[in-house]
Amino acid sequence: MGRRRNLPIVALAMAVIAVQLLTAAAGKPQYLTQLTMAGYYSLVIVGLTLLMGYTGQISLGHAGFFAIGGYTSGLLTTYNLHPLIGQIPVSILQACGLLVSGKDLYGADLLVVRPWAACVVALLVTIGIAYLVGKPVLKLKGHYLAMATLGFGTIVYKVVLGSSLVGAADGISDIPAFPLFAGLVVTGKSALRAQNYYVAWGLVLGAMALLTNLIRSRVGRALRAIHGAEDAANAMGVDTGRYKLQMFVLSAALAALGGVFLTHYNGGIGPSEASVMKSVRYVAIVAVGGMANLWGALFMGVLLNFLSLRGSFGSYDDAVFGLILLAIMLFAPDGLLRAEFARRLPGLRRGQKAAP
């Protein structure tokens, strides 16, 4: 049984490898860049699928969490602490090995937070904010929830757009690479393209493994119950408030993880990552994927983000996602890749027959 469960993950892993080999064979390694970026966006999308499709809680603010992750890590790894050397907090950080020194473009001394530490802080900050925001917001339903999350997303956007600390309209640039371990580095250098592709998709695989486990579990069942009939779920003993909040925080953390990695990969981040249109785009992808269909959302996410990043939609990028959203909700509210279809795939079907 355990092996059958993992079949889709193994299949995805093989597809990831196959795609890399194909691009290499076809002499088009540049595609890997967009696929890497699409992978990081997929982290937002699969988390949002669980929150929206399974738990039934809409969020129009997930670009905000992506941006909080990216901006926090970007700011910490670029903010120069060198002038503050000698001050006690800086000395403590230095002693703990959390800082790293270097030279900026003009050869001036630079002392910034180590990417690992920045990444951890970015995740913790996002988790904290998601918790504080989610606690009151998730008590709301329907339009109120939609507007409140939209409001949150807009606040994040306006703040990053208005703060000169994070570069206002220009955003943060010259963000250093993120050395992981064993020589793996998150960076946009074209020499390390394949490596970075695998890093991104390794993360996606990990997230998919965790999330597919989750939807098949007691928690997944409770989440779907909340979606279907919240009061009845509550009466069956499900602490609905807590489950919604945990799911919200989990999806925010995934979004932030995508934000951190993509920011280091791109070497920069700008306010457009926090825009409401980005949040709407994530919602659109979840909807096309089939709402409660993790694999559908992943597939559509990669497809649409890849096309969008390659510039296939030209200047109609936002329009395309708006129209997709509209068309899907009008004509196929259960999504193009329906859950019924997905259930027929081997290994996805829940073992519903009694054990012999």
Partner: protein, 296 residues
């Protein structure tokens, strides 16, 4: 801070607040008829302004404005008939996403038609520098136009809902759809009418405010968020309270420049929205029990 400056801020706040109130009333009209929050509400205001400016190039101003209002009403009717009317028992989530999709579609269409440029109708009376002075205080005549036309709109709407047969039919549908239908009222047509009305008042507001605030393809979304804040502040569905709430928000926002950089002006409004949603979703003037009864 001189008294005159204080007053200047107050006037600016009231002007913006009036527009927020009109947008909120637009939300309320559709909400009362359908239970839908129309996320494309701000786009009606933008369309009104844009079409008005375009027609102004060919026609005298009053005709251009009337044309803009009528055209936007048509858009409202089309939206309802093409995208809402035929849905069978749509979920709230679906309706939210559809109106969001519509707002994006309208915005992108506007970008296509009019580009990114910032436009405005000329001042109705005088120019940008014309002002009526009372002592140290200077008021642009356009402010008076905004206040006057908005007041007329609110009065006309009140008259419509209280006195005319059509208005009463709409109210009957809002109270009890089934019962109204039994009395021979077409609930579907009332819904279309609600979209037409709210598009119309949005468009008119968009025309009168455009000399002061300018209009751009994407100016709808921030207006929608403010308008929604005001609608919630006053209690969803309650239009008279929305006027008070609009003036309140406009003034608060205007004075917020004292304590915060102007870039964060929107943040104030949204923070108020979140705060109200968290502590008193029925609005400042609403009845908490009654608000919870509504089925979202």
């Amino acid at each position: 801070m001189s008294l005159a400056l204080l007053f200047q801020y107050l006037v600016a706040g009231i002007t913006y607040g009036t527009i927020y109130a009109i947008v909120a009333i637009g939300f309320n009209i559709i909400y009362n008829a359908t239970g839908i929050i129309n996320f494309a509400q701000g786009e009606f205001v933008m369309l009104g302004g844009m079409i008005g400016v375009t027609l102004r190039a060919l026609l005298p101003m009053p005709v251009a404005i009337a044309g803009a209002v009528i055209a936007t009403m048509l858009v409202g009717a089309l939206i309802e008939m093409l995208f809402i009317r035929w849905l069978r028992r749509p979920s709230v989530l679906r309706l939210i996403i559809i109106t969001i999709g519509l707002s994006i579609a309208i915005r992108e269409l506007a970008l296509l038609l009019w580009g990114e440029g910032v436009r405005a109708l000329p001042y109705f009376t005088g120019t940008a520098v014309t002002s009526l002075s009372v002592g140290d205080v200077h008021i642009s005549p356009q402010v008076l136009w905004v206040l006057g036309i908005s007041a007329v709109m609110v009065a006309a709407l009140n008259f419509f809902f209280a006195r005319t047969l059509l208005g009463r039919q709409m109210r009957a549908c809002a109270c009890n759809r089934e019962a109204a239908q039994l009395c021979g009222i077409s609930a579907k047509n009332m819904v279309t009418l609600s979209f037409v009305l709210s598009a119309g008042i949005g468009a008119l507001a968009g025309c009168v405010i455009s000399p002061i605030t300018y209009v751009q393809y994407d100016s709808g979304s921030s207006l929608a968020l403010k308008g929604f804040t005001v609608a919630i502040l006053g209690g969803l569905g309650n239009s008279m309270a929305a006027v008070a709430a609009g003036l309140l928000l406009g003034t608060l926002e205007s004075f917020s420049i004292w304590v915060m950089p102007a870039a964060y002006k929107d943040v104030i409004a949204i923070s108020i929205l979140l705060l109200i949603l968290f502590v008193r979703p029925s609005g400042l003037f609403g009845n908490a029990e009654a608000a919870r009864l509504k089925d979202y």
